[in-house]
């Protein structure tokens, strides 16, 4: 059995009176890619944002249950949110580099921690940019604005920015929905390459994408985790009627 190092236990989430997630029990396996699929509004992005406590930023959000990361409950009152977020990196739907240089985008997470030397930061930035296959494209213009990059390059820069903190988990929230097919293919390839270094949880609207890159698939519907299993099984012999209906395009 593959090792699970993050799991949710009876996780419930409310935004005001809206009960968004119901008793979610999900396990993520180390160095695997888990895809979350489901129709719009099913709660998959909200669940993703539970893993780095981004929902804390939404007023009137309330959470019950627990998420264990390496046996530590990330919602425990003594746990610092900022610490958790360095261990759980996140990439957003739309590429959102900072209005800073390419170098400073990647260095940001390290700089705010204030515990790295300049030379260390330089080394980590170079290594991370190599990890996302951006180094050769940008090594001569590290001081140019991040906005001078193409959309696909910007998204890889955002992945590098998240990886610079050496997170245990990388959360990807529909990372390719704003990109052209070529850039999308590159990001998918990159994910497969990165999973040796980091556990990946990806939310996607694109069923084919989930099939191409994921080891495990979670299907969500109306705030419930309907089905979870190895992708090869979920895609070929889904256990639940709703999963089958979604995969065959009956709704979604």
């Amino acid at each position: 059995m593959v090792k699970s190092h993050i799991s949710t236990k009876d996780l419930n989430l409310w935004f005001g009176d809206n009960h968004v997630l119901h008793d979610i029990n999900l396990e993520l396996y180390e160095n695997k890619i888990t895809a979350m699929i489901g129709p719009s509004g099913c709660g998959k992005s909200s669940l993703l944002r539970c893993f780095n406590r981004m929902n804390d930023l939404i007023p009137k959000s309330k959470i019950k249950g627990s998420i264990l990361l390496d046996d530590i409950d990330i919602y425990h009152p003594h746990i610092s949110v900022t610490q958790i977020r360095t261990k759980v990196g996140m990439v957003f739907q739309k590429p959102n580099p900072f209005p800073k240089s390419i170098f400073n985008n990647v260095a940001y997470g390290l700089k705010i921690q204030g515990k790295y030397k300049k030379s260390e930061i330089r080394d980590i930035v170079e290594k991370t940019l190599k990890d996302v296959w951006l180094w050769d494209e940008v090594k001569d213009r590290l001081n140019s604005s991040a906005f001078s990059l193409s959309g696909g390059q910007q998204q890889r820069l955002c992945i590098a920015r998240a990886l610079a903190n050496s997170p245990r988990i990388l959360l990807l929230d529909e990372p390719t929905s704003a990109l052209d097919p070529q850039s999308t293919a590159k990001i998918e390839e990159l994910c497969l390459d990165l999973k040796d270094k980091v556990t990946i949880l990806i939310v996607t609207h694109n069923i084919a994408q989930a099939g191409r890159i994921s080891d495990y698939t979670a299907f969500m519907y109306l705030g419930d985790l309907v089905e979870f299993g190895e992708s090869s099984k979920v895609f070929t012999v889904p256990k639940d009627k709703r999963t089958e209906a979604y995969l065959t395009g009956v709704f979604g």
Binding site: N96, F98, A162
Partner: protein
């Protein structure tokens, strides 16, 4: 011609003619002041003190006075305004309280400036015994500039895309780090544009300094914060209302007005240039 076509045509004509009337009025305004004033401006006019009961000489002490009043008031108001805006943007709670404060600040912008003058006299001149002085005037002008700077800064921070903040939080940044490293640097050009515009406003105000800082006539330059100063707008007022030789004083008033006008136009142009460069560079 059908009725819709006619409506379009009439509308366009109306808008165009209103535009032309406005432009002509503006051009005439500038012409009226500058044609009477620019001829008076000379090197001597800018560098000499008034002579013979303001009928001869220049405006140097008033230039210096306006310079110090403006600089001091902005130096006081800018940090106060920016920190206040940060509070409203990030920490102000509950929401209704923030909204009430914002409404109050917006109202302050519309208050006639003579009331600021009375307030300055009551508080700084009398209550705090700063007397009629550069300090009292600068403080009064700072209070006038404060709401302008708060509003400009708060809007500048609100216009920083939320994406940037989310990305910063997701990397483990605290709220304070996100504000100092992402929000403020991104908003700073707009904050400075707001500050420069308020410089233009402050430099031209007469009423707030009338009872707090300005003196009709002084050949001496201000030596300390407790000195009275001459100031350009108040000098114009003095030239037009005091003295006995209006034939000689009125051209000097127009000259002073032209200098003030050109200064404010200059400061505003700097703001426009900054904003233009910013918009060109902005890519989000």
């Amino acid at each position: 011609m059908n009725i819709h076509r006619f409506g379009d045509y009439a509308g366009k004509t109306l808008v165009t003619s209103m535009f032309i009337i406005t432009i002509v009025a503006l051009a005439f305004f500038l012409y009226a002041i500058l044609s009477r004033g620019v001829g008076v401006i000379s090197w001597q006019f800018l560098t000499e003190a008034p002579l013979n009961g303001m009928t001869e000489g220049g405006i140097f002490p008033a230039l210096v006075g306006t310079f110090w009043l403006t600089i001091l008031s902005i130096v006081i108001a800018l940090p106060l305004g920016i920190f206040c805006a940060i509070y409203l943007y990030a920490y102000g709670k509950p929401m209704w309280f923030v909204n009430v404060v914002k409404l109050a600040i917006n109202t302050l912008v519309g208050i006639p400036s003579i009331i600021y003058g009375l307030f300055g006299m009551a508080v700084f001149v009398n209550m705090l015994s700063f007397e009629v002085s550069l300090l009292s005037g600068a403080l009064t002008l700072a209070i006038l500039a404060l709401p302008l700077i708060i509003i400009a800064s708060e809007e500048a921070m609100q216009s920083v895309p939320k994406d940037f903040c989310d990305a910063s939080y997701a990397l483990g940044a605290s709220q304070g780090k996100t504000i100092t490293r992402i929000v403020l640097p991104t908003a700073m050009p707009n904050i400075l544009t707001g500050a420069i515009i308020s410089i233009g406003r402050v430099a031209g105000e007469t009423a707030p300094i009338m009872f707090t800082a300005a003196t009709f006539y002084s050949r001496r330059l201000p030596q300390s914060l407790s000195d009275e100063v001459m100031a350009l707008p108040y000098h114009i007022f003095a030239l037009m209302t005091e003295g006995s030789n209006s034939a000689k004083q009125i051209p000097i008033a127009y000259g002073t007005a032209s200098v003030l006008l050109l200064m404010v136009l200059g400061v505003s142009s700097i703001a426009i240039i900054i904003r233009y460069n910013l918009r060109r560079k902005k890519q989000w």
